[in-house]
Symmetry: D2
Subunit: 377 residues, 4 copies
C-alpha cells in the first residue's frame, strides 16, 4: 500500500468532532496514511492526542510540522486543517508555501482579510487547495447536478435550500458550541458561517448558478449569543432564478436537516441530507419518482462515488470520504505530472471565497435591515 498519500493533520485533537471525521474520511478508501500531526495548539494536548492515534510524527505546532515535513524525503504530501476557523489561514499558508497540498475545513477563514491572503497563498503555490464542503460529496447530489446540467428539469426558476439544526437551542458551553459562537474564532457569521455556507455551496453546486445578490434577516435568539443562530435569506441568482435559504441552530427537532429543492421549467428535484441515498425527481406532468444511489436511473456521476449496491445505505462519512478520494485522484495525477481526470470534482478556493462573500453579505445585509447586497461575480 505504498501508494497511499502521506497525510498530516493540524487540529483535530482528542475532543474534536471534525478531526475524527476527517481521519475516517481519509482512511475509508485507503488512499491516505496519516503520518504526522499538530493536533492541538496546546503542546501537551497535541502530544497526547498524537500518541493516542499512534501517529509516527507528532509536532507541537503546525509551523514546525510544515518546516520539518517539507525537509523529509518521506514527508507529508498533504495536510488536513481542521482547526477552528480563525486558524485556517495561518496554518494553510505554511503548507502552501512548501507546496504541500491543503485539505481545509470550511468556512475558508474567519475574516475576509484572511480569505484574501489565503487566496494569494494558494495562487502562489504549486499545491492543491481542497475545501471540505463535504455535502457535495454525496452521490445523489452529484446526480442532481448532472441532471440539471443536462437540462432534465429545464431552466431553473426557484431554489429552496435550508439547513436547520437544534443543538444550540439553549446556551451551551461545551467546546464545539463554544468556539462556533465566538466571532473571534468562527468569524462574523454564526449559523450563517457554520451551516449557511454549506447550504449556499450546495445550492451553487447543484444548480450551477451563482448568487447575484441577497437580503438577509439574521437573529441571535439565545440571549447573550454574539453571533447569529438563525438566518433568513432571500436569494437572486444570475440568470433570473430566485431562492430562499434558511439556516438555524435553534429549530428543535432538526438534527442536521440540510435539504435542497430545485424547480425548473420542466421538473423538480428534491434531496435531503438525512436521507441521502434518495433523489426525488418529478418531470412536470408525470409521477414523482425516487432515484436511489446506484439504483435504476442513477448515472455515472453517482456510481463513481458509490461503494455498495442500492438499498445498502451510504451516509455522511462516505460522502465526506468522497471529497478526500477526489482530492486523492487530483494529488496522484499531479504526482504523475498529469491533469486530473475530467470528472474529478472537489470544492476549491473559489468555493471558499464565495462562501466568505456569502457570510459577509448576510451580515452586512442584516445590519442594514435586510437590504439587498450584491455579491462579487
Amino acid at each position: 500500500m505504498t501508494n497511499r498519500i502521506r497525510l498530516g493533520m493540524v487540529g483535530g485533537g482528542n475532543d474534536a468532532f471534525i478531526g475524527a471525521v476527517h481521519r475516517i474520511a481519509a482512511r475509508l478508501d485507503d488512499r491516505y496514511e496519516l503520518v504526522a500531526g499538530a493536533l492541538s495548539s496546546t503542546p501537551e494536548k497535541a502530544r497526547a492526542s498524537g500518541a493516542a492515534l499512534g501517529l509516527p510524527r507528532v509536532y507541537d505546532d503546525f509551523k514546525q510540522m510544515a518546516i520539518r515535513e517539507a525537509r523529509r524525503k518521506d514527508g507529508i504530501e498533504a495536510v488536513a486543517i481542521v482547526t477552528p476557523n480563525h486558524m485556517h489561514f495561518a496554518a494553510a499558508r505554511e503548507f502552501l508555501k512548501r507546496d504541500i497540498h491543503v485539505i481545509c475545513d470550511k468556512p475558508l477563514t474567519s475574516t475576509m482579510a484572511d480569505a484574501r491572503k489565503l487566496a494569494t497563498a494558494v495562487e502562489a503555490s504549486n499545491a492543491l487547495f481542497v475545501l471540505t464542503h463535504n455535502y457535495t460529496g454525496y452521490p445523489m447530489v452529484r446526480h442532481a447536478r448532472e441532471m440539471i446540467a443536462a437540462g432534465d428539469i429545464g431552466k431553473i426558476r426557484v431554489v429552496q435550500v435550508e439547513y436547520p439544526q437544534d443543538w444550540l437551542t439553549t446556551a451551551q458551553d461545551f467546546k464545539q458550541a463554544e468556539w462556533r459562537t465566538d466571532p473571534a474564532r468562527s468569524g462574523a457569521g454564526g449559523s450563517t458561517g457554520d451551516i449557511g455556507t454549506h447550504a449556499h455551496n450546495l445550492a451553487r453546486f447543484v444548480t450551477g448558478l451563482e448568487v447575484a445578490s441577497l437580503a438577509a434577516d439574521l437573529d441571535a435568539f439565545v440571549p447573550g449569543r454574539p453571533v447569529d443562530d438563525n438566518g433568513h435569506v432571500m436569494l437572486r441568482f444570475h440568470g433570473g432564478a430566485k431562492g430562499m435559504l434558511w439556516c438555524s441552530q435553534v429549530a428543535p427537532g432538526n438534527e442536521n436537516a440540510l435539504r435542497i429543492r430545485v424547480y425548473g421549467e420542466t421538473g423538480g428535484l428534491e434531496w435531503a441530507q438525512e436521507d441521502p441515498n434518495a433523489l426525488w425527481h418529478t418531470p412536470f406532468g408525470e409521477p414523482k419518482r425516487v432515484i436511489t444511489r446506484n439504483g435504476a436511473g442513477a448515472g455515472d456521476a453517482a456510481a463513481r462515488l458509490s461503494r455498495v449496491p442500492p438499498g445498502h445505505p451510504e451516509g455522511y462519512l462516505e460522502g465526506f470520504a468522497n471529497i478526500y478520494s477526489e482530492a486523492a485522484d487530483a494529488i496522484v495525477a499531479q504526482r504523475d505530472g498529469q491533469p486530473p481526470a475530467s470528472d474529478v470534482t472537489y470544492p476549491t478556493l473559489d468555493d471558499g471565497l464565495r462562501g466568505m462573500h456569502f457570510i459577509d453579505a448576510c451580515v452586512r445585509s442584516s445590519a442594514r435591515n435586510a437590504a439587498w447586497v450584491t455579491l462579487p461575480d
Copy 2:
C-alpha cells in the same frame, strides 16, 4: 331533519371546483340543506347548474335571490359565496344587509377598497360572516394551536410556512387557472392571493402571532402572466419571532403542499397538509413523536372536529366541513339567541382583512425591491 340550516349558494356552477367542495362540506355533518342558488352569472348556466343539483329554488342572479329569499318564511338562513374574488363583496353585501349569514370563500375580495366596504357591511349586519380559510379546520392544526397556546413549545422564535403547488408551471387556459391569473378578478396577488393568504392565515392561526412587517420578492415566471406565480416573503412578527413564507404555483412535484413548522424556546411542531392526520412534536432534548388525530396525546380541540378513530384518515373535505360545522354551531346559537360555545372557532372578517393586507403588503414590498412594509395592527 328540520333543524338543518337552509343554505343558498352564489357561484359554484357546473364546472367550478370550489363550489362542489363547499356543497360537500356543508352536507358532511348534516347541518345544512342547500335549497337555493344563483350558481352562475350567466342565467342559462345558473339554471342548468341548479337543475343538475336538484335545487328547489334557482335564481338568475344573486341580488334577486337575496331579495326573494329574505321575503320567504322558509328562506335561506345562510349563503355560501363561491364566486371569483372580484364578486365576493357585491354578493356578500346583498345578503348581509338582509341579515342572511355569509360563508365566503377566500381571499376576502379582489381589492382593498372592496374589503373595506365589506367590513362596513359586516359591521352593519346582524348576520355572521365566515371566511373559509379551510385549512384551519384540520383537527391537528387545532391541536397545534392548542399546544402553542398552552406553552408546550415555549416562546416562539421561528415560523417556516410554505405553500407550493405546480399546476401553473406552464401557461394554462382552463377556467380555474384563467380567472386566478387575471388581476381584475383575482386581485393584485396571484399565488400570494390564492395560496399565500392560506399560508399567512395558517401561521397566524397556529401561533397566535400577527405579522408586524414583511419583505417580499414576487415573480411571474411564466411569460406573460400578469400576476405573481411565486413569492418569497420574510416575516417579522410582533413579539420578536421571525418567519419565512414561500408560495408557488410553479414548483413541479408539489401538488398542494401547504406545510408549517414552528420552533419555540423549548420545542418544535411540524404539520403538512398532505399528511394532515399527523402532528410532529419535538420537545427539545427528547425524541420526536407523532401525535395523530384522535390518537394518544391528541386533545379536545382535535377530538371535537374528528369523526373517526385514529388510523382512519380524514382529509381535505372533512377539514373544510369543520369550518361549516363550526359556522353551524354559531348560526344555531344565534337562532336561539345565545352566544356560541366558547370553543367554536372559525375564520372571520378580521382574518380576511389581514389576508388582504398581507397581499397588499407583498405586492407593495415587491414593487419596492422587497423593502419592509408594515402591516396594520
Copy 3:
C-alpha cells in the same frame, strides 16, 4: 333533490361507531336521504337515537320497519345494516324478501350457516345486496386493480397483505371491543373476522386472484380472550401466486395499518390505507414512483371515485362513500330498469361468502396446527 334514494338503517344507535360512518358515507355524495331507522335492539335506545338524528320514521325493531316501509309508497328503497355480525342475516332477510336493497356491514354473518341462508335470501330477492368492504372504495385501490388487470406488473408471484391494529392490546370492556371479542356475536374469528376479512378481500380485489388454500396460526394473546387477536396466514392462490396475511389487534403503534404489496414478474405495487392517496409503483429496472389520486398517471378508475384534485387528501369516509355511491348507481339503474354501467363495482354476496370461508378456513387450520385448508372455488 327528489332523486335521492330513500334509506333506512338497522343498528347504528348513539354509541355505535360504524353507524355514524355509514350515515356520512351515504350523505357525502348526496345520493341518499336517511328517512327511517331501527337503530337499536333496545326500543328506548332506538327511539332516542332516531330522535337525536331527526329521523322521520323511527321503529322499535327491524322487522316492523321492513313490513311498514314496504307498504308505504314513499317507503325506503334501501337499508343499511350496521348491527353486530350475528344480527346481519335476520335483518337482511326481512328487507330482501320485500325487495328492499340491502347495504350490509362486513363480515357477512357470524356463522357459515347464516351465511348460506343469507345467500339463499339474496338469490330469491330482486333487491341488490352490497357488502361494505369499504377499503375497495379507495381510488388508488381501484387504480392498483386496473394496473394489475392491464398486466402492468406482469403475472403475480407474491402478495403481502397485513392489517395490524393495537386497540385490543389490553383487555377492553367498552362496547366496540366487547361484542367484537364475543364469538356469539362476532363469529368464530376475532381479528380474522373483523379485519382479516378486509385484508383477504383487498388482496382478492386488487389482484383478481382467489385463495386456493391457506395455513393459519391464530392466537389470543390477551388472557381470557375467547377469539383470536392475532393471525398469521400463509396463502396459496389459484394460478401459483403465494401470499402472507397478517392481522392483529395487539400490535402497539399500528392504528389501522392495512397495507398491501403485490409483486409480479415485471413490477411491484404498494399501497397503505393510512396514506391512501398514494400508490407506489416500481416497474422492474426503473425508479419507484408514486402515483397520486387524481394526479399524473392515475387513470379513469381512480378519477371516477375522486372528488378533489391531487394533494387535497381524501380519506376513509370518502372511500366508504364510494361504496355507497357505486351502490346508488346500481340502485338508480335498477329503478330505471337498466343494468348498471359496466364500471360500477361494489362488494357483493360472493365477496361476503368468500370472506366467511376465509374465517372458517383460518379457524379450522389453526385448530389443526396450521394445516393447509382448501377454500371452495
Copy 4:
C-alpha cells in the same frame, strides 16, 4: 499505528462485492491492517487482485497462506473469509487450527455437515470465530435489543421480520447471482440462505428469543432456478411469541429492505435497514416516537457504536465496521490475556449454527408441504 491487527483475506478478488465491503469495514475504525491475501481460487486472479490492492503478501491458495503466515513472527492474527459459502469450512479450518482468528461471512457453510465440522474446529481452536451477520452491528439494532432486554415493550407477542430484494426478479448470469443460485456453492437455501438467515438472526438478536419451530413455504419463481427465491415462514418462538418471516429476491421495488417489527404487551418497536438511524418506539397508549442514533433517548449500546452526531447518517458500511471493531476489541483483549469487555457483542459460531438449522428447517418444512419443523435448542 503499530497496534493494528494484522489481517488476511480469503476470497474477495477484484469483482467480488462482499470482499470490498469487508476491507472497508476492517479499515474504517483503523483497527486492522490488511497484509496478506489469497483473494481467489484462481491463482492468476489471486495475484492480480492482491497486486491491485497493494497487499504485501499475496498467496495462490488459502492453505499455503495459513501455513506461511502462521510461521511468521509478523504473520496475520486474523483472517476474513469472504468466499462463496461452500468454501467457508475448508478455509476456516486451516486458520483455526493455527489459532488464527476467523472472521467469516454468512451463512456459516453450505451444508449442515460442514457446519458441524466447523463447530468442532472452532471448539478445538484458541482462536475467535466471528460471523459477519452485519445487520446486528447497526447502533439502533443494538438499542432495540437493549430496550427489549430492559422490558421496555413488555413480554413479546409478535415478531414480523422481512427481507425483500428484487435483484433476482429475472434470471441473471453475473457472478454475484450465479453462485448464490447454485446449491452446490450456496447451499440448499437460496433466498432463505442468503438473506433469510439475516432476518432470522436479526429477530433472534433483537428479541433474545429462539425459534422453537417453523413452517415454510418456499418457491423458485424464476423458471429453472434450482433454489428458492421467495420464502414465507411462520415462526413459533420459545416462550409463546409468534412470528412471520418473509424473504424474497423477486420483489420489485425492494432494494435491500430488511425490516423488523416487534410487538410486546406494552409497546412496539420498528426498524428498517434502509433507514437505519431511526428506531420507532410506541409505548402503548402514547404517541409513536423516533429515537435516532446518538440522539435523545438513544442509550449507551447505540452510542458505543456511533461515530458522528445524530442527523449525520451512518449506514451499511459503518454497521459492518462495527462487527469488525467488536471483533477487534475481543482480539486485543485476547492478545492481552484478558476477557473482552462485557458489552463486546458479535455474532458467533452459535449464531451460525442456528442459521444453518434455520435454512435446513425451511427446506425440510417446505418439502413437506409447510409442516412444522422443530429447531434444536
